[in-house]
């Protein structure tokens, strides 16, 4: 999720060497694993590093080596020539890679909706303020109502009847840095859609929404460059620091699924209405990369494992099983989902915001 590339490229995960030997014994002779290299959005790193995932690939004779990088970086700056596949975290980034590299097809095996993680007292306050509403089986965060409050520069302590969180700071969702991060770009996709009354697709539309959406970032001041930063603050520093934090649903679900008690009972998820899906989209660059895309989309075991990391999979069964097993308070389907703008439009708006810092 970080733009900085150096780190990502230096880290090479050696996947499946041990597995190969172990499994090979079962098969009578050591298996010759084919190494497949990919560059991936960093939030999937834990998935690819998981031993159970490595084992599944080894069963298919594959060893997957991945370098993590920011999704926007993969689309624009990474030299893809040494990779068999690219696996950014958003559809617009994948769309650009597919076009640039003339890839015949793409796979979208996982997705995760953008959510807002918050706390009970904030939910109560924002319900009174008309921002949080009861949705179809889950609570929604009304983006239009939020934009109205933000446009007026509303501070928490200005909300009527607010005694539980009278902070003298602006009512703003904490995001990552729009100059660096995919999740901030997804947030821009949501807010620009609402500010424009539909997906932004023209220069006029960009000009129309920029003042309002820029403010959502600029008024936060300093923001962190990777989505783990604000989410960890949410978990540890709590409501004082981050009353509302933009996150991937997978981040929250992953924590609950781990059962490490980092998610406390007063922590709540809100689904922006509308929201966008962060579609983890694999673009095959060479034949072995295509096999990874096929396996991720079709192998039930990989799907089940992906769900334990909080991802929604092509077959909804895997995610729903986790929801049931862990008794998660998340909806099986989210109704109000919109498409992000085209890659070029999104990038132009991000550039325009970056210039104002």
């Amino acid at each position: 999720m970080k733009r900085t590339l150096g780190i990502g490229l230096a880290v090479v995960l050696l996947v499946g060497v041990v597995t190969a030997v172990v499994l090979g014994q079962g098969g009578g002779e050591p298996a010759q694993l084919q190494t497949v290299r990919g560059v991936i959005g960093s939030e999937k790193l834990a998935f690819f590093a998981d031993q159970r995932v490595k084992d599944v690939f080894a069963k298919h004779g594959l060893k997957v080596e991945v370098d993590p990088a920011g999704s926007r970086q993969i689309a624009t700056a990474t030299d893809l020539s040494s990779y068999d596949f690219a696996f950014p975290s958003s559809a617009p980034a994948a769309e650009k890679i597919q076009r640039d590299r003339k890839a015949a097809r793409t796979y979208a095996p996982f997705s995760s909706p953008m959510v807002i993680a918050t706390f009970d007292p904030i939910v109560d306050l924002l319900t009174k303020a008309g921002v949080v509403k009861a949705g179809p089986g889950y609570q929604t965060f009304d983006v239009q109502a939020y934009l109205d409050l933000a446009a007026r520069g509303t501070r928490w302590d200005q909300l009527p009847g607010n005694t539980s969180y009278a902070a003298r700071k602006n009512l703003l969702v904490t995001t990552t840095d729009p100059r660096d991060s995919n999740s901030a770009a997804m947030y821009l996709a949501i807010t620009s859609f609402v500010a424009n009354g539909g997906v932004v697709s023209t220069p006029d539309g960009e000009a129309k929404v920029l003042p309002a959406v820029s403010k959502l970032f600029l008024d936060q001041g300093y923001t962190q460059s990777s989505s783990e930063g604000p989410f960890e603050d949410y978990l540890s520093a709590g409501m004082g620091k981050t009353p509302l934090v933009l996150a991937y649903e997978a981040q929250f679900v992953d924590r609950v699924a781990r059962g490490d008690s980092t998610i406390r009972p007063d922590m709540k998820l809100l689904y922006p209405a509308p929201t966008v899906l962060s579609k983890h989209t694999l673009v095959p660059l060479r034949e072995p990369g295509d096999r990874i895309g096929q396996l991720l989309s079709s192998d039930a075991e990989l799907g089940r494992l992906a769900a334990t990391f909080g991802f929604r999979t092509a077959d909804p069964k895997h995610f729903n099983d986790i929801v049931k097993e862990k008794n998660l308070a998340v909806p099986q389907t989210i109704v109000d989902v919109v498409e992000p703008p085209a890659h070029e439009t999104l990038e132009r708006m991000l550039e325009a915001i970056a210039k104002q810092y």
């Binding site: 733009r3 900085t4 590339l5 150096g6 780190i7 230096a10 880290v11 090479v12 520069g153 501070r155 928490w156 302590d157 009278a166 902070a167 003298r168 700071k169 602006n170 703003l172 840095d177 600029l218 008024d219 936060q220 001041g221 300093y222 923001t223 962190q224 460059s225 930063g229 960890e232 603050d233 978990l235 540890s236 520093a237 709590g238 409501m239 004082g240 620091k241 981050t242 490490d260 008690s261 980092t262 406390r264 810092y357």
Partner: protein, 535 residues
């Protein structure tokens, strides 16, 4: 016996690593397996016992080299940090991330612990202010400060992160807008900020010295005026129990919190990367987090560890931090040029014959560096500030005429140029009449103080050798004891240089509540820059 030996050996190894290394760009040596070379803020020194345990548990030992926040940012931005370090560890990455050249060199951060910057006052003072029964915001604190209902000490925001966070916090809170600061908003709250800083009567380049000076003054060991409280990290204030524990005032409208991210540099090798990962995992282990909380009074970052009751306020509102380097730099510049009490600095400078050659040239450069010639990030903030009274008092066999300047806030250039011209024309000849010259300096200060008492006043004494004048340290001591309180309390900052009489210089620092700065193993420029944090 064997168990006791391990830490001892580790310390030896650490010392060896520091002293053997001739290359200044690699102060803690070359990349070594199992060693994480870390450029860090000095306040992390208190984590050493935790890191010793970590070395035993993970096989990864940390070698620290300490530097200030702004200087550290500069080293990362220029790429110098990559030459000798694998990671950086400051109280916060916020400033670093605002400098684009530094930001792109930062890799994975692991936030290890946290501590907000708050105000600590004696319990009786808190009661007197009526703050024991209700929580107050920064505006009320600033108003009480403006009315001089209390005084406090704080570190220099350009040299130390606690001062920096306090400055950002109070500015953000006083700006009623509630969003991040920009230049216009800073100007709008300048009057209130000025009130708040008018009660700052002690400044220091480091948190450690600030606490020591505060304690010495409270016990009457320093001649300087007593200071009521301190603005510092909660962790420092909680460990401050001399002469009495402080009561912490947590402003209701918010704070700025240090979160101590142990951050890999993108240039790190895969071994260093692995070491960083192991160490990070270890430090976030619940037992280790508990130990950090117990021993360093910093808050844990893993939710599994419940907060100790010593942290009186649990849920703290975090104030927005500026989003651009220019806003932060503007705030620091305003602090020096407009907001804080102005400085009065007297430089008593040895221009005797022994200073000839490289030494006098070094002195000229050190002074010129403070006139704005130093274009580094830190140099920008270290220059003589707007409103500052600067007096150069060169001496050899006797004191030369005092050269007095006052730097205007608007258009300081012509005066700074004059100081520069004076500095470059300093010449070395004659004897070394240290004490009569220093005594003469008090005549200058007496006059300046009676005309304008409310300033940070201090003396820098730079000499490269033994006193050859007829007055000696004994005579000076008698003179100093007879001074009225407002002159006696002026700190002297002697600079060790050449063949300085170390013991005498230490005596001067002690009797005046000052501090000795060593320029024998580094340039005078570096020492003069460091002293700026105390002026």
């Amino acid at each position: 016996m064997t168990r006791r030996l391990v830490p001892a050996l580790a310390v030896l190894a650490l010392l060896a690593g520091c002293s053997d290394e001739a290359d200044p760009s690699r102060p803690v040596g070359d990349a070594t397996p199992g060693v994480l070379r870390v450029l860090a803020g000095s306040e992390l020194a208190d984590l050493q016992p935790v890191l010793d345990d970590a070395a035993k548990a993970t096989g990864v030992s940390v070698k620290f080299s300490f530097t200030g926040t702004i200087e550290g940012a500069e080293k990362v931005a220029s790429g110098a940090a990559e030459q000798g370090f694998d990671a950086v560890w400051f109280s916060s990455n916020r400033y670093l991330e605002l400098v684009p050249e530094a930001q792109k060199r930062l890799g994975t951060p692991t936030k290890v612990m946290s501590s907000p910057v708050v105000l600590g006052l004696p319990a009786a003072k808190v009661k007197e202010l009526g703050w024991d029964t209700k929580r107050v915001g920064w505006a009320e604190i600033a108003a009480a400060a403006g009315a001089r209902k209390f005084t406090y000490g704080m570190t220099d925001p350009s040299a130390s992160n606690s001062g920096f966070s306090a400055l950002v916090g109070v500015a953000a809170a006083l700006s009623s807008s509630g969003s991040a600061l920009d230049a216009a908003r800073i100007d709008a709250v300048a009057p209130q900020l000025k009130q708040f800083f008018s009660a700052q009567t002690l400044s220091a380049g480091s948190s450690g010295w600030l606490s020591e000076a505060y304690q010495r003054r409270a016990r009457g060991e320093d001649p300087g005026a007593k200071v009521d409280g301190l603005v510092n990290y909660e962790s420092v204030l909680l460990s401050q129990n001399q002469p009495e524990p402080l009561t912490l005032v947590y402003p209701s409208d918010g704070v700025v919190t240090a979160d101590y991210p142990l951050t890999l540099l993108t240039s790190a090798t895969s071994e260093a990367r692995e070491a960083h990962r192991k160490l990070s995992d270890h430090l976030k282990n619940a037992d280790v987090q508990r130990k950090i909380m117990d021993t360093t009074h910093r808050r844990p970052v893993v939710p599994q560890v419940p907060l100790d009751p010593k942290f009186a306020v649990k849920d703290l509102v975090e104030l927005p931090f500026p989003g651009s380097q220019s806003a932060v730099d503007g705030l620091i510049t305003s602090y020096f040029d407009q907001l804080r009490r102005p400085s009065r600095t007297l430089y008593v400078l040895d221009t005797s014959g022994s200073m000839q050659g490289d030494r006098i040239e070094g002195l000229r450069q050190a002074l010129v560096g403070l006139t704005g010639a130093d274009e580094s990030l830190a140099g920008k903030f270290n220059r003589f500030h707007g409103r500052e009274q600067v007096t150069l008092l060169p001496f050899n066999s006797s004191a030369q005429p005092a050269l007095k300047y006052e730097v205007p806030t608007n258009d300081p250039r012509p005066i700074l140029d004059q100081i520069r011209t004076t500095a470059t024309s300093l010449n070395a000849s004659g004897g070394t009449a240290i004490y009569s010259s220093l005594r003469g300096g008090y005549d200058v200060l007496r006059e300046q103080i009676s005309a304008d008492p409310d300033r940070f006043t201090s003396i820098v004494l730079m000499t490269d050798g033994e006193n050859t004048g007829s007055e000696d340290i004994g005579n000076f001591q008698v003179f100093h004891q007879g001074l009225p309180q407002n002159l006696k309390g002026i700190p002297i900052f002697p600079v060790l240089f050449g063949e300085s009489a170390t013991t005498e210089m230490e005596q001067l620092a002690k009797m005046s509540g000052g501090k000795v700065f060593d320029a024998r193993s580094r340039s005078l420029t570096a020492a003069f820059k460091e002293i700026r944090g105390y002026q």
